[in-house]
């Protein structure tokens, strides 16, 4: 879509574009190309000398069992977070769509955790699961289950999944509710007249019609779990214990800034960029399809 009526000016459009283009170039295009370039270099930790090594950094990366562990952790983490968060949010949205009284109050309370930073969400859950004084850790202990995420890798992963999913419920709730409200009431009424109960109506009409929203949210949640959860991991577990919660983004940071393996970290960045681009393309294709609907 293009405007028919436009202004003619030789220099003004460039002036208007200049701030964004300059910032984009300095802080996006240049660093991204640097990351690409560095991923082909083998550099010593002090940056004194570097050598062009083609794909050696990638070869090292793909022969490193630790990297595959990290990929594995990332997949478990993002799948669990997405599933947990989406299913609870869908349940609440379906219920909120039903209520007549108190709708606004429910909606406001269920949406505001969106404002909580991932790192802060992590700290809240860390406190509740703190082995010596956390309310949930002590409750588990009373039931005979020994909770200590500082030593138990599996428990640490459960903790970060819960914190990450909790923070994302609000977001998913908003989109599910918007999706539910777009479903024509006449369809549901017709099904009710034909004798379909609430559960049957949900699975045969509402859930299939909601699938575009669900699909969109799956992509967004996977991106969230891949990248935005850095704060949770860094604040709560620091990737530990024994790297059991080291997701890919955390590994890029850890190898680059702590381990000073610049080439390896850049190679990991490049792989992450490909993952983001793939996810973005999937999302755009889906949006195009929805527009044609």
């Amino acid at each position: 879509m293009e405007k028919r009526s436009t202004f003619n000016n030789l220099w003004l459009p460039y002036l208007l574009l200049a701030p964004q283009i300059i910032i984009t170039f300095i802080f996006f295009i240049w660093p991204a190309s640097q990351a690409l370039y560095q991923s082909f270099l083998l550099e010593d930790a002090f940056g004194l000398s570097s050598e062009f090594v083609w794909f050696e950094n990638f070869e090292v990366l793909f022969s490193d069992p630790l990297y595959f562990d990290s990929i594995n952790t990332t997949f478990i983490f993002s799948a669990a977070t997405t599933f947990l968060s989406l299913s609870t949010a869908l349940l609440f949205a379906v219920m909120a769509d039903r209520v007549i009284r108190g709708e606004m109050a429910y909606k406001t309370i269920l949406t505001w955790p969106y404002a909580v930073a991932p790192a802060v969400a992590g700290v809240l859950w860390l406190f509740m699961f703190s082995p010596s004084n956390g309310i949930l850790a002590l409750a588990l202990k009373d039931w005979g289950y020994d909770w200590n995420h500082i030593l138990q890798g599996g428990q640490a992963l459960v903790l970060v999944v819960i914190a990450a999913a909790w923070k994302q419920i609000a977001y998913n709730f908003i989109f599910f509710l918007a999706g539910l409200q777009m479903i024509p009431k006449s369809l549901i009424e017709a099904a009710a007249i034909d004798g379909a109960g609430p559960a049957k109506r949900f699975w045969t009409i509402i859930f299939p019609l909601l699938s575009p929203t669900t699909f969109f949210l799956i992509v967004v949640n996977v991106v969230y779990a891949f990248f935005d959860t850095f704060g949770i991991i860094h604040a709560v577990t620091q990737g530990g214990p024994y790297k059991s919660t080291e997701i890919l983004v955390y590994k890029v940071y850890n190898d680059g800034f702590i381990g000073l393996d610049l080439g390896g970290s850049a190679a990991q960045s490049v792989i992450l960029m490909f993952i983001v681009i793939t996810l973005t393309v999937i999302q755009f294709r889906y949006i195009e399809r929805r527009v044609q609907y």
Partner: protein, 281 residues
């Protein structure tokens, strides 16, 4: 509501109340902890409010936590506020200008610039942290507000939002104002800007939360303690030996870190939902 089913109605409210408990319980626990003395919550769980509310919050705001260099949380909140507002103002102004140029002007390389901006949609900060850090360091912007703000304000989302919105504005408006002798500046300030008010408000809410909640970037570019932002400041409070861990101070800081964005969401609920739904399209 299609039919009346009393049991289902009860179940609905029970589920939603459970949802509220799940959503609010962590915050309630944190708030309770922030009203107790440090030793009262070191080995036990407190279920109800203590008496140290005012004392704890005064300590936090004025002197912070002794074990992390006593940076006052008031200063951290100030840093977060400057950063968040810098991102909001910077992003909205550069993107409304570039969207204006792309929609209302015809000039050579227009599509090239459009794609250049579009590319940034695909590169979150997290995947290019090291080289971006180098750029900022070379420009001498470490431990400065511009260093915190500038790398985060170039993003395509706001530009796209404005572009989509400008495209829905009838052509007749631009034609009529041209006939009346308005130039590009006049048209922008007198017509486009007032029309964009609701979009700007929606973006304000989303971007403020985005800016306030930044974590990784401030962690990298601020090494001086007086440049700490509150969200990353909490993290430093966690890693101290267990027996001197003042959870009450940490939790009071967590509550303060949540307060501004939560208030904005509650006060501007409508703009928030609009902003969220539209920036994702």
């Amino acid at each position: 509501m299609v039919e009346n089913r009393p049991t289902l109605n009860v179940l609905t409210h029970v589920t939603l109340l459970t949802g509220i408990v799940i959503v609010s319980f962590p915050i309630y626990i944190a708030f309770v902890a922030s009203t107790h003395e440090a030793r009262d919550i070191l080995m036990t769980v407190q279920g109800w409010f203590g008496t140290n509310l005012i004392e704890n919050y005064t300590t936090v705001l004025q002197t912070g936590k002794a074990s992390t260099g006593s940076i006052s949380v008031a200063l951290m909140m100030w840093n977060s506020l400057v950063m968040a507002l810098g991102i909001v103002v910077g992003k909205i102004s550069i993107s409304i200008l570039s969207a204006y140029a792309i929609v209302y002007f015809r000039f050579p390389f227009r599509m090239l610039f459009f794609w250049l901006i579009f590319v940034t949609l695909m590169l979150p900060v997290e995947v290019r942290i090291l080289p971006t850090y180098e750029v900022v360091a070379n420009l001498g912007l470490l431990n400065t507000y511009p260093g915190l703000v500038l790398p985060l304000i170039a993003s395509a989302t706001a530009t796209f939002l404005f572009r989509q919105f400008f495209l829905t504005i009838p052509d007749e408006l631009a034609e009529a104002s041209r006939v009346d002798g308005a130039g590009p500046f006049r048209f922008f300030f007198d017509i486009l800007l007032p029309l964009s008010r609701t979009n700007i408000a929606a973006l304000f809410v989303i971007l403020f939360i985005y800016g306030w909640n930044q974590y990784l970037w401030p962690l990298l570019v601020t090494t001086e303690q007086n440049m700490t932002t509150i969200v990353m400041g909490i993290q430093a409070m966690l890693y101290v030996p267990d027996d001197i861990n003042e959870w009450n101070i940490t939790m009071a800081t967590a509550i303060l870190a949540m307060l501004p964005p939560v208030l904005i969401i509650i006060v501007m609920q409508r703009q928030f939902v609009k902003g969220l739904v539209e920036t994702e399209k």
